[in-house]
């Protein structure tokens, strides 16, 4: 089966600019996650979707981050405006049905904010 696809692979922007990341999960996976992984730390959940709906966005900085999952398939994560501390790898993952199913991760997008 095809894995989780993410793009772009790398992105460099200046602070206060905006950026968007795209994720295409494994076909048939109902649950989609966005994680932020800062260098030297474990992934931190930003938002979790179950089909179209948001299950958990408690750690999403909603003043600057937004995410959507159209038609329960692809998802986009946006940052506007970016701050220096947003420099991180943004990981998208999907699972068949919720948190008891293993997560399948994409290769991530490495964001550098200068």
């Amino acid at each position: 089966e095809a894995g989780v696809a993410q793009s772009p692979r790398y992105k460099i922007i200046e602070k206060r600019q905006s950026v968007a990341f795209w994720c295409n999960p494994i076909s048939g996976h109902a649950t989609l996650y966005w994680y932020q992984q800062i260098l030297g730390q474990g992934p931190k959940l930003l938002i979790q979707f179950q089909n179209n709906g948001v299950v958990d966005d408690s750690q999403l900085p909603k003043d600057r981050f937004s995410a959507e999952r159209l038609k329960g398939v692809d998802s986009t994560l946006k940052i506007q405006p970016a701050k220096l501390e947003d420099s991180a790898v943004y990981l998208c993952a999907s699972s068949f049905r919720g948190t008891n199913s293993p997560l399948h991760f994409g290769n991530g997008t490495r964001l550098t904010v200068t």
Partner: protein, 113 residues
């Protein structure tokens, strides 16, 4: 509430010697537990999972982990380390029937020749 603690930020072993990466968890309900591995500049890959079946779980690449409810631990082991095992390892806890997935801070494994 759920939490997961990886007791060592770094572990260094010699090739051919045993590996032990320690993980303690806290969960109010029956947990599902996972270990993931992340090689440099690569995505995270599932090593193994525990979901209330056998307490000793075998994973890929010769790794295994034992669920010990009395000690709230889920330590990852391998009898003989290989150079290719050098990577970052994450212990993950989730809640049966719930929606929270919590990652530990990670343990970086170094393997010396």
């Amino acid at each position: 509430a759920q939490s997961v603690t990886q007791l060592d930020s770094h572990v260094s072993v010699s090739e051919g010697t045993p590996v032990l990466l320690r993980c303690n968890y806290s969960s109010s309900y029956s947990p599902s537990l996972f270990w993931y591995v992340q090689h440099p500049n690569k995505g995270l890959q599932l090593l193994l999972k525990y979901t209330s079946a056998a307490t000793l779980v075998k994973g890929i690449n010769g790794f295994e982990a034992e669920f010990k409810k009395s000690e709230t631990s889920f330590h990852l082991t391998k009898p003989s380390a290989h150079m290719s095992d050098a990577a970052e390892y994450f212990c993950v806890v989730s809640h049966t029937g719930g929606f929270k997935t919590i990652f530990g801070a990670g343990t970086r494994l170094f393997v010396k020749a």
